[in-house]
Symmetry: C2
Subunit: 333 residues, 2 copies
Amino acid sequence: MLEHGGRLRAASLRFGIPLADWLDLSTGLAPYGWPLPDIPAAAWARLPEQDDGLESAACDYYGVDSLLPVAGSQAAIQALPRLRRNARVGMLTPAYAEHAAAWSREGHRLLAIGEADIERELQRLDVLLLINPNNPTGRRFAPEQLLSWHARLAERGGWLVVDEAFIDCTPQHSLAAHSGRPGLIVLRSFGKFFGLAGIRLGFVLAPPPLLERLAELLGPWAVSGPSRAVATALLQDRVGQQVQRQRLCVDSERLAALLCGNGLAPTAGCALFQWLVVPHAPLLHEFLAGHGILTRLFDSPPSLRFGLPPDEPGWLRLRQALQLFNKDFTCPL
Amino acid sequence: MLEHGGRLRAASLRFGIPLADWLDLSTGLAPYGWPLPDIPAAAWARLPEQDDGLESAACDYYGVDSLLPVAGSQAAIQALPRLRRNARVGMLTPAYAEHAAAWSREGHRLLAIGEADIERELQRLDVLLLINPNNPTGRRFAPEQLLSWHARLAERGGWLVVDEAFIDCTPQHSLAAHSGRPGLIVLRSFGKFFGLAGIRLGFVLAPPPLLERLAELLGPWAVSGPSRAVATALLQDRVGQQVQRQRLCVDSERLAALLCGNGLAPTAGCALFQWLVVPHAPLLHEFLAGHGILTRLFDSPPSLRFGLPPDEPGWLRLRQALQLFNKDFTCPL
């Protein structure tokens, strides 16, 4: 298994800081969200059924005619590579590592390509897999650009897979509305924007024949009943979504400004995180962890991903730690 | 996808009876259980972590040293066939159909065998898959018998897979305590005994190397955070489990007696259902459905599975419908 952000218990043991005392910025999840709606007892007691309203609420939210709920977009990441054989799969690097692991596990050939090489490499690829915006680099791709790549792949039976896990604050960049096109597969994560990572829910947007094959692989009742009930309510709450979107955007800009103000200008970011490439990323990661602030460290390039603090005490704590770091380490570096 | 019991919405449409008016006996789930324990907000908000207490509570409950939580035993049923190649897989018939579908999907060769033939066929099998007690026949296998079959399979690198979805009321028949033996794989369902089918949780009991391969296929965070929190509390409630066990056993005997009293002596059963083989099973199924009572109909042999009514009005309704059926149909049959 790959290591991930969000492994707070491990950090707690390693740094000897009690679980409750951490400021966890190691994930790209919204750190706040909705009060939980009422969950009918039947959602716990009975097997989940497909016609309970989740699919139609999700179709409305994403603006599509067909989709498949899955137990977190991770489930789709694991299953998609099983729908092809011997594909040459192009991916950017760095990117969320579970994609490469899943395609590699199923025996496909991975090509790590640079963004500038996509045009040239496209003819060699069966599958192009992009994360938009990319995690952790925050890089965004224009829909027109993606659709042009998709068209070239699709005419040879290829796929463009776009993981839109972090796109909910900028839905105008989503390819959801085009996801009926053969060879275009869009993955959406529910938990990140709605602040409910524990819910284990994501959606695959793609033409029905592909969704049927995927459903067959994933089997019935993949998503828990309570998760379906909660998600149905939140997907219908347009006003709440607008409030959440604005709050996340404001906080993301505030985070960028805070990092800038401490000589750590982010390289890029999106509404849910900021990404900072600095040679001393490991040192900064250790320093912050020593102060009970968990960030996500990447090796190549040396970089940190900062999620959003949940509240004012969190903001204050991050500010103070960054100031301390500057005081302690700016001179020798 | 296979059809299953529990498709109440479909029945509701077909028979024109509102959802809330049905007595659903079509599943083998406990129709009552625990008041829901408090679920910490973090279980919804954060990614589930492996060291939150679920695994150790489950190890205590099942009496094992190692296990893997999965999103319903269905997830394990789908994934296990991916851990072998070209196996000859023996299964009894009738039995829960998802097993055969999953092994067949992965290209294995299925041999439908009769119980009396297991001894003779064993040497031809790579995998023997049994449900204990069997669904829907209620047939029980003695642990000594199963262990003897397992030993013969294991010495050739074979597997005995035992699906113990309905065994929680008779844990003395479980092979859980032996599940550290190579080649023995025990599947347990959480939702059936605890009355929480919507929770999507099951466990695979097997030696750690096999569990690691399975975990790799299923990926991280397969079970939702709220489900983990609820299950952890219930797995620790030994008194509550004892009460549930007694109540289910009493109700199962009451169901058998009620069927007997109406000339429909069950062929077999277990604590969670009774099974009735009768030539006119389709007729009885339709008659009961017309009265808003959903049972599970099997074609071969023609048979009905009755789950337990949840409460006294349910018992009364079932009794009255059976009496009406006898009055209307006993003479011409």
